[in-house]
């Protein structure tokens, strides 16, 4: 336990759901990003998975829409301390997208329209843990929240769920992404409070 801050009581906390350490609950959907919101022309939108042997697997928007989608309801946790529970999305599972991808890679380097990048182990994208999401709460995903499509990896801090996702590069080594290079954690498990490098 940290040192007591004199006179600080916090909110009443008899019933609420358990949150990861240091997080608080919000009903809003705050927006965090490092620059302007990119506007992606749909006729040129594409999502590309590139393997460690430079083999490319490419989907246009129509290709993505033609794939079977899922509607996961998940909790999300932002490193800036807010958590939002029971959010409902629609997207294509990474298991579906990876089904024809032949790879021995251990890591994924995710890149986005606008230049954002993030990294995570490939295993964390598989087995029903991650989606390329294009709807939130039944509506098209708003550009501020990553539309037309973002990665959704709810079991990690939300900066891993790259907005405006454009592709994934599969690698043998773990290449730090945008925030990871700036000192944020390479894995980012909210329940272990892995906010920054060394946590």
């Amino acid at each position: 336990m940290g040192i007591v801050t004199p006179g600080f009581r916090g909110r009443p906390r008899s019933s609420g759901p358990e949150l990861p350490p240091g997080q608080y609950l919000t009903e809003d959907f705050p927006v965090l990003s490092a620059g302007p919101t990119p506007r992606v022309p749909m006729d040129r939108w594409e999502f590309v998975i590139t393997t460690e042997t430079s083999r490319e697997h490419r989907w246009t928007w129509d290709d993505l829409m033609a794939l079977p989608s899922e509607t996961p309801t998940v909790d999300i946790h932002c490193v800036t301390k807010w958590s939002k529970l029971g959010t409902t999305w629609q997207g294509v599972s990474l298991d579906t997208l990876m089904s024809d991808v032949d790879t021995a890679a251990d890591y994924a380097f995710v890149h986005s329209y606008g230049g954002y990048t993030t990294n995570l182990p490939l295993a964390d994208l598989l087995d029903g843990q991650a989606w390329v999401a294009f709807k939130f709460d039944g509506e098209d995903l708003h550009p501020e929240h990553g539309g037309p499509a973002r990665l959704l990896v709810p079991h990690l801090y939300f900066w891993k769920s790259a907005k405006w996702v454009r592709g994934i590069q599969l690698r043998f080594d773990d290449e730090p992404g945008f925030w990871e290079t700036a000192g944020y954690h390479d894995y980012g498990d909210p329940w272990r409070e892995q906010r920054y490098q060394g946590d």
Partner: protein, 250 residues
């Protein structure tokens, strides 16, 4: 996007409130003494952890308001109605009280005093805080880089650092300060209250050809609008750095 330097491991430190100053009726600057503080860059923030007597603990992030100055860390905090932490920090937390913090955090929304390109700062409400750290750092470092600040507030009473901004606009050569009032204007103001628009950014910012570094900080809607305007005016999106926050930061 460019890469920032990798900082070392961030440890929790205990800071003590040395001094507090009211900025507006609802915002307060906390001057903390933090033994072992490693220093920071203008624009960075800290994580603050508060712990109640029963062990309950919660954290918030706050922008640092002043450049590195030994073991002193200045934060300006806006009281959010019904907030859990900000009303405590603005109304209860007293000189001599301890609080835990760690940082500095964030290597992207920073201005380095060695940078040479003109700077445009656009702040909405409490979004002025990290921008003020840049303005103060510019002066402290004797930088001559031209700075322009566009500061959007609801009413004249909501202006943070009002006297200091007036003084710096007069004395800090190369710093221009423009106010935009969205709800209520001062007496004699040339136009009624309005939100920052294309004309304001075009008139009071820099031409894209000068390749300015643009820093935009404030509530989400404000930042979205201003960042979109900057891109529409021809600024390179990679030179537009944003920091967004909403009322949930309480």
């Amino acid at each position: 996007m460019a890469r920032a330097a990798v900082p070392g491991r961030l440890t929790w430190r205990v800071g003590t409130l040395a001094e507090a100053r009211a900025e507006t009726p609802t915002a307060r600057t906390l001057v903390l003494d933090v033994p072992g503080w490693p220093g920071h860059l203008p624009g960075q923030h800290v994580d603050v952890r508060l712990t109640a007597e029963d062990g309950y603990s919660t954290q918030r992030s706050y922008s640092i308001a002043a450049p590195a100055d030994g073991e002193r860390v200045e934060l300006t905090i806006q009281a959010v109605p019904d907030g859990e932490v900000s009303p405590y920090l603005t109304e209860v937390f007293s000189p001599g009280d301890p609080v835990e913090l760690r940082g500095p955090v964030g290597g992207w929304f920073v201005w380095r005093t060695t940078a040479m390109d003109p700077v445009l700062l656009v702040g909405g409400g409490s979004g002025i805080v990290p921008l003020m750290a840049m303005i103060r750092a510019r002066r402290a470092a004797g930088s001559r880089v031209p700075f322009r600040l566009i500061y959007s507030v609801r009413t004249p009473d909501d202006v943070y650092y009002a006297d200091e901004l007036r003084r710096r606009a007069r004395d800090d050569a190369g710093l221009d300060v423009t106010f935009a009032y969205t709800r209520e204007v001062p007496d004699g103001w040339p136009h009624p209250p309005r939100r920052v628009g294309v004309a304001d950014v075009n008139t009071n910012g820099w031409p894209p050809a000068l390749t300015p570094d643009c820093f935009v900080c404030g509530p989400t809607g404000f930042v979205e609008t201003v960042a979109d305007i900057l891109v529409a005016l021809g600024h390179d999106p990679r030179r537009v750095r944003t920091e967004r926050f909403g009322p949930t930061g309480g």
